[in-house]
């Protein structure tokens, strides 16, 4: 899975959205973030990894600690936001196909 492109997938997860909300108010260390959730630390770390890989979060060293903060960089690359657009068309085309499939029988009948 190419995480770089799956920003939308990243924010579709409720835990990751909650992390984003938390970090939005102030930058935090992984430990501080994890202490806000009932989830196991490795799971939180995995979420942080995904959010960092798709650049929604950025890491910055401050003294001995690594702090996470929201990446305010505007998304300029098409690949970052195209997935929902594609999904919108996919839904429509899937519907088109299923509607017209019900007409295949009568269509074949007509041709004969």
């Amino acid at each position: 899975m190419n995480l770089r492109r799956d920003v939308f997938q990243a924010i579709a997860d409720p835990s990751r959205r909650a992390i984003l909300l938390l970090v939005a108010s102030q930058s935090m260390t992984a430990g501080a973030i994890a202490s806000n959730f009932d989830t196991a630390r490795p799971t939180v770390s995995k979420h942080l990894q995904i959010l960092t890989e798709c650049e929604l979060l950025k890491q910055e060293q401050n003294g001995r600690e690594m702090y996470y903060h929201i990446n305010a960089k505007k998304m300029k690359k098409v690949a970052d936001f195209i997935e929902p657009f594609r999904n919108m068309w996919e839904d429509r085309f899937n519907k088109l196909e299923s509607i017209m499939k019900t007409k295949i029988h009568e269509h074949l009948h007509k041709k004969k």
Binding site: I11, A12, P14, P84, L96, E97, K101
Partner: protein
């Protein structure tokens, strides 16, 4: 064979390509674009007008979950049954300028066909803004959801 929608959009260009293969004979795929009752179903819109011919006009109206009506309209420039539809497409009452759509329908086999939509926008910025709309809606929904969660936590 996996049938899925492919979007080809390069950075810095004011056009995009949408392609999709269907498990449908060509004639049925084409019918889905020209019969108003069918268009209404898969586009989830009301067809106010659909004149399938050169210089024909069309008008759709979609009602959103809040009850607001959105109108879409355009003119047909080319209409070639089971082959091509070329038309303009405009979202009325929005800052988005009209766009040009070239739809091509191809037979792949007796039971499969392909649609290629080549859409051209007035500018790169317009295209990118429009492409981002579904994404922005997703973020908005996510933000609203976060607000909800945050409010409920208080």
């Amino acid at each position: 064979m996996e049938r899925k929608t492919i979007i080809h959009a390069e950075d810095g260009k004011q056009e995009l390509l949408i392609t999709r293969e269907f498990d449908l004979p060509l004639e049925l795929l084409f019918r889905a674009y020209v019969e108003p009752e069918i268009v209404e179903q898969w586009m989830n819109t009301k067809v106010l007008k659909l004149e399938n011919k050169k210089q024909g006009g069309y008008q759709f109206e979609t009602t959103d979950p809040k009850g607001n009506k959105h109108a879409f309209s355009g003119t047909i420039h080319e209409f070639s049954p089971n082959k091509k539809i070329t038309r303009t497409f405009e979202m009325e009452n929005t800052p988005f300028p009209v766009q040009l759509e070239f739809l091509e329908f191809e037979k792949l086999s007796d039971n499969t066909s392909k649609l290629t939509m080549h859409v051209v926008y007035k500018s790169v910025a317009t295209r990118d803004q429009l492409l981002q709309l579904p994404f922005a809606q997703g973020i908005n929904m996510a933000h609203n959801r976060i607000q909800e969660i945050a409010t409920n936590l208080k």
